[in-house]
């Protein structure tokens, strides 16, 4: 019995908790992609770099706050910087919309043109972030590191396996819950939120109802800024910030949004967790876990790992490609490709 509990602890510690945190971060990112796709009807390749931009601003504000001695005690200072990061990103996204996308929107250009211009925006942001903060990996998380420490857990419970939850992981889950709940409340309950869904659903009819498309587009960008920056800051608190990593996050985020069905917010959240759980469980070595579960005679000698951890990113791409091939509208129905 104790073996079984130890096995469960191992699984929670190394698969469940990290996957929930990473999945939440992906879900927030994918929500941004899916909202922009729903309302503006294109895949925004600049999304990863937008995330890097928002995180960068938050880091800069955090550094400044730390330098004047303003911190949040055991919580990371970046939480104070986050709203400023969001505001700056919102200004950036509204700015790019004004100088880049609006022109094509008014001319009703092909979505492909939007996607190609988002590549242009991606280049600019990518360069800008490296110009300002540099391409190196950096950490900006301060305050306490753990909510539950592995050693303390062992001492208190007497289990041989440790169990830990760190502060960024718990903040991630709490903030994601708040963000998702308020997003859904906004979309379902408010006039503006409903008009956003109406525009995403049927543009012509929405115009007939007197819904101002430009206003809805602006609100969409602002919400995308909030979600994206939050996702980026949470990921950075958890694993550190590096511009190239953020650019690469584009793929698991796209994967999450598509797996859930592009344009479908509920799907984006589900997609985020599907991707994170697959990435982590397919590349996790189950040796220790099986060691507790199986009888002595069947103990595995190998790591019992389906794929090496280097293939973590490849897992999300593979799921993405499989979903695109077999069910392109995603698990929750999104817009047909």
């Amino acid at each position: 019995m104790e073996d079984l509990l130890n096995a469960v602890i191992v699984l929670c510690n190394f698969v469940m908790i990290p996957a929930i945190a990473y999945g939440s971060q992906l879900a927030l990112g994918a929500l941004g992609v899916t909202l922009v796709y729903g309302v503006l009807r294109f895949s925004n390749f600049a999304h990863g770099d937008t995330m890097a931009f928002g995180t960068m601003i938050t880091i800069l504000v955090t550094r400044w706050l730390q330098s004047v001695g303003l911190t949040l005690g055991s919580l990371p200072t970046a939480l104070i910087g986050l709203p400023i990061g969001i505001a700056a990103t919102a200004v950036l996204l509204l700015g790019t919309d004004r100088v880049v996308y609006r022109f094509y929107r008014l001319r009703k250009s092909d979505p492909i043109i939007f996607t190609i211009s988002s590549v242009g925006v991606m280049f600019v942001l990518n360069g800008l972030v490296r110009l300002v903060i540099g391409p190196e990996h950096q950490r900006f998380s301060d305050g306490a590191r753990f909510v539950i420490r592995a050693r303390e857990f062992k001492e208190i419970t007497g289990f041989s396996e440790g169990f830990s939850i760190n502060v960024p992981q718990s903040i991630t889950v709490i903030l994601t819950l708040i963000a998702v709940a308020s997003l859904f409340w906004f979309m379902k309950q408010t006039r503006t939120g409903k008009s956003m869904r109406a525009l995403a659903d049927n543009e012509d009819l929405a115009t007939l109802c007197g819904i101002n498309a430009e206003r809805v587009v602006a609100i969409t960008w602002i919400i995308a800024a909030a979600l994206t920056t939050t996702a980026g800051v949470l990921y950075g608190l958890d694993k550190g910030f590096k511009p190239f990593t953020y650019f690469q996050l584009l793929l698991p985020i796209f994967a999450a949004a598509i797996v859930g069905g592009l344009g479908n917010p509920l799907g984006a959240i589900a997609g985020g967790f599907i991707i994170s759980f697959s990435e982590i469980s397919i590349t996790y070595a189950f040796k220790k876990f099986l060691g507790y579960v199986l009888p002595q005679s069947l103990q595995p000698e190998h790591l019992v790992q389906l794929l090496s951890t280097d293939y973590k990113l490849a897992v999300s791409f593979a799921i993405l490609v499989l979903v695109l091939l077999f069910k392109p509208t995603g698990i929750f129905r999104g817009r047909a490709p």
Partner: protein, 234 residues
């Protein structure tokens, strides 16, 4: 003075004129119907009145105000509502949300209007929490008409409301439309099914190749031997 007048309208799409000196009116509290053969410009005439088709001559009036240059949205605020023939509901939104979107521009309280719409279309009340995309064709049309009514329009413009629904549903829809008129809303509609439409019409406009061919009270047009011969198949 008629409530809504599209007078001597000439225009069309991308330089090709479809309407030629075409005149259509909607009278206070009446049903006006535009009928005619395929390609006669029926829908174009209606869209021109709503500002979705460019006119290079002619005038559109509502309540004596010249609205020829106004955008469709501005015409909504002047008391016009337009229900397109297809894609006329938000499929992913519930019936009630569809209706609320109809009232998007209104700043006053809307529950009374919602109740009125549910009284006109009782079937919708039962399904008000269902996504409109899951409804049958006839019910979708009811949602679409209901959405139009939510703006509290003076005149409701329907583009072929009975296209693609079964005959029984057609009858029911026609009946509902006459009920709508009883609440004081004028109706201007385009119909493929001329016989049925003219039978409930106070005024009928028969268009041929973008021109007015016959105009008159609906039932009298139905009796007219010329109209019968040329459009109603004898």
């Amino acid at each position: 003075m008629s409530l809504l007048i599209g007078e001597n309208m000439t225009g069309g799409y991308e330089g090709v004129d479809i309407l030629h000196q075409c005149t259509v009116r909607a009278e206070e509290g009446e049903i006006s119907v535009i009928v005619g053969p395929n390609g006669a410009g029926k829908s174009t005439a209606m869209k021109a009145i709503f500002g979705m088709v460019g006119l290079h001559s002619g005038t559109v009036w509502i309540n004596g105000e010249d609205i020829t240059r106004l955008s469709p949205q501005d015409r909504v605020s002047r008391g016009m509502a337009f229900v397109p023939q297809t894609n006329n509901v938000f499929t992913s939104m519930t019936v009630e949300e569809n209706l609320e979107m109809g009232a998007f521009l209104r700043r006053d309280r809307i529950p009374e209007t919602l109740d009125q719409v549910y009284q006109l279309f009782p079937a919708l009340k039962d399904k008000r929490r269902q996504p409109a995309g899951e409804l049958s064709g006839g019910q979708r049309q009811q949602v679409a008409i209901g959405r139009g009514l939510m703006t509290l329009p003076k005149v409701l413009m329907l583009d072929e409301p009975t296209a693609g629904v079964s005959p029984i549903v057609k009858d029911e829809l026609m009946y509902r439309i006459t009920e709508v008129v009883r609440t004081g809303v004028s109706i201007l509609m385009v119909e493929q099914n001329a016989r049925q439409a003219l039978s409930i019409a106070d005024t009928g406009y028969v268009l041929v190749q973008g021109k007015n061919h016959y105009t008159g009270a609906g039932p009298s047009l139905l009796q007219d031997p010329d109209v019968r011969r040329s459009f109603l198949g004898g």
